[in-house]
Each structure stands twice: as structure tokens, then as C-alpha cells.
Subunit: 134 residues, 4 copies
DNA sequence: GTGGTCTAGACCACG
DNA sequence: GTGGTCTAGACCACC
């Protein structure tokens, strides 16, 4: 699996950053359905955090139904058929917040649009983002 | 000032939601430079939260240089000239995360693009978003 | 809140026993909707386990939607309207297993029936078991 | 021996599910005293699990005094006269927990009673459940 | 005060 | 080997 980037200064909890990164890799298709994830211990030493932190990230993903934990035999990606549930309000809110901050930094509408386009481009420029439900 | 929408179920802290909303109002131009903000007490009772929560939101905005706190209990918008500081990494990260979640919900690239367009539209459809720095 | 009984010898994890007991109290109506739960620290010292163990139990119940955790202001029972989801297979399996063990202990069908009746009686003999969905 | 049903998604360990199933077959009389159990290898390949998993299930049953292990790889049912030992607390706890969950799903007392009756019926509707001790 | 995060490390359960 | 549980204790975020 690719390297994970964790920012220890960020206010976003480490275990969540890790879950977010893995979720991102799956969404972008870099981690296919059925892929084995590194063991909790391996990833912990690689990222430089405690065992439990990784375990918590894995458990979060397992609760979301994106990862399957099998006692004694690792963790693997599992892209189920059931729609991925997420409170849409929070996404809405976060997006709106991002826009506010960009504008207050001095970005014009044009610049904001470009920035978003670039972000989308970067996101979809990987191997082949997962397509599901669709 | 317009009504603030706070979602007590959200995982985003209340004081932050409030700060975010006010920042948004400023960014969209609904709160002009120099506008008086409601007093801590007023806003607290209006939103239905503790005094400290509002005070914390105001303090956050003051730290960002967007609001000026005055002794007593006055606060007013103050859009300075100095560039608005914000850890860009977190925005980047949140944006990427939003994209991942949308894709995993089953949204295609096309749908994601539309959703972002609509959000930008909605954001810039107010009175007249602030222009500064630029 | 009533005393919780935890069996440290049991193979069922402590944090789960605690969650099970609280769930039981809610189901039997001894903890009404909106009741405040003891703080993590209080309950931890009362039961004689670590903070994190209680926190984990609370989080489990929160994930089930039975408890509402509010940062900085405690935890309270929250009986939502949405049906409580539980994989029926496991219940089925556990029930069948209980029956097998009872029979192998030498219980006749008659005795098993009585035992179950008594268990149901005891369960429903409290104040007034919660009724929802129904 | 009849087919064993194992649910790999279940949180109940595989080795235990297997032991539970065999115990159930014995309790219901489908496996008589003295019957040969399949060899560890056979059963492992049939169920699709590791050798150790079956071995562990057999060992568990042997510890309970329900199965006799013989050198080589034979195992057979052995219903002794000695009372079947089982920590009653756990059964009690599990039963109570099942009741709580059913009630929180919205089942009324009446419905719970019916569900239990049906489970007992199904259990005792086999060839001829073992009678012992009693 | 509250709950949340993270650590370091021990021990258990599973395959 | 794997993941799961639990501890003891520190520090942060929230109200």
C-alpha cells in the first residue's frame, strides 16, 4: 500500500486521518476490493504511531463497512453493495466552510472554481476511481 | 444579523459551527466591515447555548482577525488588510475527504462536479461576496 | 442509576457487559429516555475498571443510537424513533445454542419452557418495559 | 454427519460455531452416543477452514466431555453420565441480553414469547432429543 | 467539570 | 502471526 500522509499538527485526530486516507485510496481505486491491508503492527510502526491508533482507524472503517476485520487473519478492503451512509449535512457544511475561508483569503469566484477543478482533477487522475451504485 | 443554523447532532463543535456561520456571512457580504455583532448574551439565548460557547466562537474569530472584541460586551466585524491565515493543509485534506466520500456514495465524476458547481453557485448568489486582498 | 453487575471471569468483554446492562436497563424501562448516565469517571471508579473501558461501552451504545454523548456535558439516554438494528442471525444462533446446552444439562422440553418463561417474567416484571415501534 | 452452517460474518468465532453446531446435533439426537465424527481434515476441507480451527472445536467439546478424541485423527461422540458443566451465569446473561435487544427492536412481550416458543418448537421437532441426567 | 485522543505495554483470543 | 481487550496515565477539546 502507498504511503500514508499524517499531519500530527492537524486538529483532525490521527486515527481519523488514517481512516480518511485509506478511504481515499479505496475511492480512487488504488486499493481494490479484497486487497489486504497492512497489519495493525506494521502500519503502526510505519506511520510512527501506537498500535491502538491504527486499530481504531481500522475499526472505524469496519463500522462503515469498508473494511473487513478477521480475527487472526488480517484486515482487507471490502466494498459492499449497500450504499455508503454519511450525514449529508456535514458534507454540505464543510464545503460551505471551505468556500468561506477561500473567499476570505482573497480568492475570487473564478479562483475558487479553478481550485476545485484542480482538486477534482487530481482526485480522478489516479488508476481508475471506484464506481459503485452510480 | 440573520439567523444562525446550528446542528446539535453534528460532530462539529457548536462553537465552531457558530464561528463558521459568522465567517460565512462575512465572506458572502451579508455582514459588512464594521457591523456590530449581537452581544454574547443575546446570541447565546437566541441560539440556545451557553454563554461560554458564544464567547469562544467570538474569540476564535478575533484570533483570526475577523472580529474585534470590545470591553463590555460589544463585538464588531473588522476586515483587516492582512492576509487571512489558515492552515491550507487541513482545507486540502477536508476537500479530498469530501470527494472520497462522495465517490464512495456512488457519485460519478460528473455528479461530483455538478454538486460542487451548485455549492459554489449557492455561495456566490448572495448580496455581494466580499472582495479583499486579491 | 442502579448497580451494574460485571463478571470479570466471563469471556464476554467487560465493556460489552456494561453496554449490555445499560441496554437492558433501558429496555426494561429503568432508564427513561433523556436520563443522564453517570460520567465516565464516576462509573469507572464505581465498577472498578479503567476509564477507557467505560468510554468504550458508551461509544458502543452511542453508535447503536441508544445514547447521546455530548462533549463536555455528559451522556444521556436517547431512544430514537429509528428501528434498532441487529443481525437476527446471531440472536437465532445464540438462542439455539442456549437450548442445546440446557438440554445437554439434562433439562426436558418442559423444563426448558419453564426456564424461558421465568426469564421472560423476570424481565418484564420491572417498572414498565419500553414500548417502541411495536 | 449433516452439513454444518458457519457464518463467517458472525462475530462468534468460527471454532465455536462449529462446536455449537455439533453440540446441537447431539442435543437434538441427530448424533447418537458413539457416533464417529468426521476427521479433522475432512471437516476442515468441507467447511473451508483451517485445520487448527476444527481441532480447536473438537478439543473444546472434548473438554466439555461430549467428545472423545483418539490418537490418529478419530473422534467420536461420548455422552457420559457426569453432569454437563456450564457456567450458568453466561447463559443467563446472554438470554437477558437477547430479551433486551428484542424489546428495543420493538417486540412486545407477546411477540417475544411467541418467538421463544417457535424456537423451542423448531429445536425439539427433530428426531428425538437426547434425554439424560434428568 | 465533561468526553476524546493517544501512548506504552501486557495479556488474551483467533486461525 | 493476526486483531481484541484492558490498564495507567497524560493531555486536549468542549461547555
Amino acid at each position: 500500500m502507498r504511503t500514508l500522509h499524517v499531519d500530527f499538527e492537524s486538529e483532525i485526530p490521527v486515527y481519523r486521518q488514517i481512516a480518511d486516507e485509506i478511504r481515499g485510496l479505496v475511492a480512487r481505486g488504488e486499493l481494490a476490493d479484497g486487497s489486504e491491508l497492512p497489519s495493525v503492527r506494521q502500519l503502526a510502526s510505519r506511520v510512527g504511531v501506537n498500535l491502538n491508533t491504527i486499530a481504531k482507524a481500522y475499526r472505524l472503517l469496519a463500522d462503515e463497512g469498508l473494511v473487513e476485520l478477521r480475527h487472526g487473519s488480517g484486515a482487507r478492503v471490502r466494498i459492499g453493495a449497500d450504499p455508503y451512509r454519511e450525514p449529508a449535512d456535514d458534507i454540505e457544511r464543510r464545503l460551505h466552510d471551505v468556500l468561506s475561508r477561500l473567499v476570505l483569503t482573497g480568492s475570487s469566484r473564478r479562483q475558487v472554481e479553478r481550485l476545485l477543478e484542480r482538486a477534482v482533477d487530481r482526485f480522478f487522475s489516479g488508476p481508475a476511481p471506484v464506481r459503485r451504485g452510480s
